[in-house]
Amino acid sequence: MIAPPKPDLVTVNIDGREIAVPKGTNVIEAARLVNVDVPHYCYHPKLTIVGNCRMCLIEMGMPAVDPATKAPIIDPVTGKPKINWIPRPQIGCGTNVSPGLHVKTTSPMVKDAREGVMEFLLINHPLDCPICDQAGECKLQEQSTGYGRGYSRFVEQKNVKPKRTQLGPRVTLDDERCILCSRCIRFSKEIAKDDVLGFVDRGSYSTLTCFPGKQLANNYSLNTVDICPVGALTSTDFRFKMRVWFLKQTNSIDTETSVGANTVVWSREGQIYRLTPRRNDDVNDTWMPDSGRELFKAVMAADRLVATTHLDALVAQAAELFKMNASAGAIAVVGSGRSSVEEQFLTKKLAAALKASTQLVSRVGQGDQLLISADRNPNVRGALVTGLISKLPKVGDATPLSRSTKGAVAAPIRTGGLTDLAASIDAGKVKVVVSIGEDLIAAGLTAAQLANVSVVYLGTHANATSAAAKIVFPTLSVFEKNGTFVNQQFRLQKFAKAVPGPQGATDDLIVLAKLTAAASSAPMASDLGSLWTLISAEVPAFAMTSYAQVPETGLLIDATPFAALPFVEGETLHFKPAAAAVALDS
């Protein structure tokens, strides 16, 4: 990893504590570094600064200098440099640090300013917290508790505004709750590049709305719900479903594409209620696509595969099948770019034990230059690094989406990469195909070709391949297990089990380990701890790593052995393709 250049540091004094922070840092962020909370609403670290909420008002001053000598003036009483305090409070969000800047966040002036702003924000607020989805994660609640006066002096009529406007397919707006911070407007314009939101009317009657004839329908619309500091923007899907304080948070990864946006899975009693982005400044900032937020729905889908036969019986059947096709090349393994690193490692082990060929199904679509990359497999890099494959899978022909993301991503995804396998089947060489969660029909094999082989299928949902398979091992979705992916930046990222899998489905690692053990007549570990001992011993790029050591924001690994490969991704938020790459999504 190349160390970032050392930024110029500036020393500032916050509530009496000196701290050196990089030039260009604003006072809110500088204070954060010394654990001083500067309450704010409109400021968002990834959006432009407009300074409109005035919640971040604080007292600031600069060291006094002698006009003649330019030397700092020392206060004779304290012996410290004299500070010229600005008589009016200043905004922390819009003020960048400068050498010697002094900040007070607890002075009477600051307290008064905060109490004033809090009171103003609440007078026309409906205070419908008992029925508001934001309750529990609402900045207005938190900061009125922390910085408000705690009583009301307002006896007038509150303003009345639209209570439920559908801004687009996924976002519902309650204008009365809106505090007019304009975060959603700035997000749509600056990040989603879909300038559809604005205020109409003036003053306290200002009302958020879509421009005439427009909708907030882009694939990032739900990020406005995340950044709305109050309950004005709500997810139409999540609205009224569950109180957030009942929900358990589990870190996960968006598996839609090789971007690997960091996410949080919110669940209760084994049921997932929503997915939200998790901040990673090197991957997805604070954003994620809407399409990725719907992926959890598949967990509860009616077509989930569950076994009625005992796992060991299924393994025995498979072992029998393997024994009957023991000659080299009679068995082919179709690995998956959706499998975790650990699963791919075991897939490789299984293929070796079976003397089988390995291939990967490619999934290529259009990138959106933000958080959807052209490679719709989250972990093709993992398959390369673990050695499951040595070259990139061929890009398939255009086929319709197999599992729809509800039209949010328009262009079809080309699924394929199995032309060599198809030829081998046609030539009669391959008799058994082990597919790790891949629908071989969707990947380009014909029903006739499938009919000519025995299929062993590991997967979560029913499809043409599971229907045609001789043996089916129901396995777990990404939300039901632990593991890692390697994203397009060669960043190793962890995901964790949020909910238990259904009865009759087994962790892929257990299935793969048992099959490998059966094929090789030697025991094989299936727990992450033991597996990582093997992985770090055998995979050079992971030599120094263990599962426990992977930080929540991921770990960049050495990509040089793969630098020359023609990856399909074009540029996205924090990713630039190597010059050699074939960018399919220009």
Binding site: I49, V50, G51, N52, C53, R54, M55, L57, P87, R88, P89, I91, G94, T95, D112, A113, G116, V117, E119, F120, L121, I123, N124, R153, F154, E156, Q157, N159, I179, L180, S182, G198, F199, D201, R202, G203, S204, Y205, S206
Partner: protein, 453 residues
């Protein structure tokens, strides 16, 4: 002491019999001669004259024009824009409209001289949306001037070119705040920008250095360049140079426009002698000296302190009538010269009702960006409206003051001050009237009192 005579610089020809707003009339009266001479002089020399003149902006804040021009970022390599602020919306102010209607070429000449001095290639006149007639007059005048070579390509036969566009405003008071104006001119909602970093002199229109000046200010530039900065300092009083146009409205015998040397006339002379005093049978009660956002003055109150006269500090003890009408004197007594809009109220006016009127204006005009102004202005309006039309409470005065105190100094633009100063000053000076209002309401209204709608 008798009031001095008017000193008409801007209004030199305005109201003269037969004086019309077309180019021929303007040129007949010596028009565009200053521009012709100016374009042969080094631009820095013109800026120097303006600096020497001590000219202070007539848009409201009284910021020295030469200093403003000196702050312009001339090293960025970006074009420099000049914007004429003709949005005139401050209640009580109506001078810019009159200048544009009666003598548009004076403004155009002042603008072109200022553009040449600052190497501006493109100027805009941002005229209040509700002044369509003024916009048409300006359009016609610019067309005439362009045809005569005073605007556009190769001005007065030189290599210097500069065009002027008239842009009609978006129908809101806040479009007059310079950064709101710039946003509006860029085609956006007139939300004022935060300063720093968006000082117009550095990051103004289209993120380029920009000069924003009031109509009257730019007309003064023409006079200054013609007669020299030193000559201008001889008009008016030190630090308050030149003339001021007072737009007197309200309860006086002769409301209207009056141009006097700054500081050479007192409030009393202006109202009693020039404007003919109160209406028959009435007495003056209060006056707002510089547009509705300036703090109100109560007849009968006294202001004491020390002020500088020449090199010496002398005591002053003024009633409202004694205050010289200039930026500094009005500033000293806690109000401001502002835009020159003098609003006079006599004893028929109830101060709660007058404030209700002002509050209705400001709550309607807040752009709504920043919380204190947006919510505070409407809250104050709701309180005063309730007092007038519903139930008035004894504690409302204290509440009003407290709400108003939570606004100024905490907002993006000076509207925060503009909307809170009326309430603060009305309560400070007429607090009793607010406290008594629950009783006042029960009594019959005085004869001639205005009905608040």
């Amino acid at each position: 002491m008798a009031a001095p005579a008017q000193r008409r610089i801007i209004f030199q020809h305005i109201d003269e019999p037969g004086y019309s707003n077309d180019l021929a009339c303007y040129v007949r009266n010596g028009g565009y001669e200053v521009l012709k001479k100016s374009v042969t002089r080094p631009p820095a020399e013109l800026i120097d004259e303006v600096k020497k003149s001590g000219l202070r902006g007539r848009g409201g804040a009284g910021f020295p024009c030469g200093v403003k021009w000196g702050l312009v970022d001339r090293k960025s390599g970006k074009p420099i824009y000049l914007i004429v602020n003709a949005d005139e919306s401050e209640p009580g102010t109506f001078k810019d409209r009159y200048i544009m209607h009666q003598d548009p070429h004076q403004l155009i000449e002042g603008t072109m001289i200022s553009c040449f001095a600052n190497n501006v290639k493109q100027a805009y006149i941002y005229i209040r949306g509700e002044m369509p007639h003024g916009a048409r007059i300006l359009e016609r005048a610019i067309a005439e001037a362009r045809a005569a070579g005073f605007v556009g390509k190769n001005i007065c036969g030189t290599t210097y070119s500069c065009d002027i566009f008239v842009h009609r405003g978006a129908g809101a008071y806040i479009c007059g705040e310079e950064t709101g104006l710039i946003e509006s001119l860029e085609g956006k909602r007139a939300n004022p920008r935060i300063k720093p970093p968006y000082f117009p002199a550095v990051l103004g229109l289209y993120q380029c250095p920009t000069i924003v000046n009031n109509v009257e200010t730019l007309c003064h530039v023409k006079y200054i360049v013609e007669h020299g900065g030193d000559a201008f300092t001889k008009v008016g009083t030190p630090n308050n140079t030149g003339t001021r146009i007072f737009c007197v409205s309200g309860h006086v015998q002769r409301p209207g426009y009056y141009e006097f040397e700054a500081g050479k006339i007192t409030m009393g002379q202006l109202l009693y002698e020039v404007c003919g005093g109160p209406l028959p049978g009435r007495t003056f009660k209060a006056v707002i000296p510089g547009g509705s956002s300036a703090k109100i003055l109560r007849f009968g109150e006294r202001f004491k302190g020390k002020r500088k006269v020449g090199a010496e500090m002398v005591d002053y003890d003024w009633g409202v009538e004694d205050v010289p009408m200039d930026f500094d004197s009005l500033g000293m007594i806690g109000t401001m010269g502002g835009s020159g809009g003098v609003i006079v109220m006599d004893d028929t006016v109830n101060m709660v009702e007058a404030l209700a009127n002002i509050n209705a204006f400001y709550s309607h005009e807040s752009c709504g960006q920043c919380t204190p102004c947006r919510e505070g202005s409407l809250w104050m309006k709701k309180i005063t409206t309730r007092m007038v039309h519903g139930q008035a409470r004894n504690e409302d005065a204290a509440l009003l003051k407290s709400v108003a105190d939570q606004i100024p100094g905490r907002t993006i633009c000076a509207f925060g001050e503009a909307c809170s100063w009326p309430t603060q000053s009305f309560i400070a000076k007429f607090g009793d009237e607010f406290k008594q209002y629950p009783e006042t309401k029960k009594a019959a209204k005085p004869v001639g009192a205005h009905e608040l709608v």
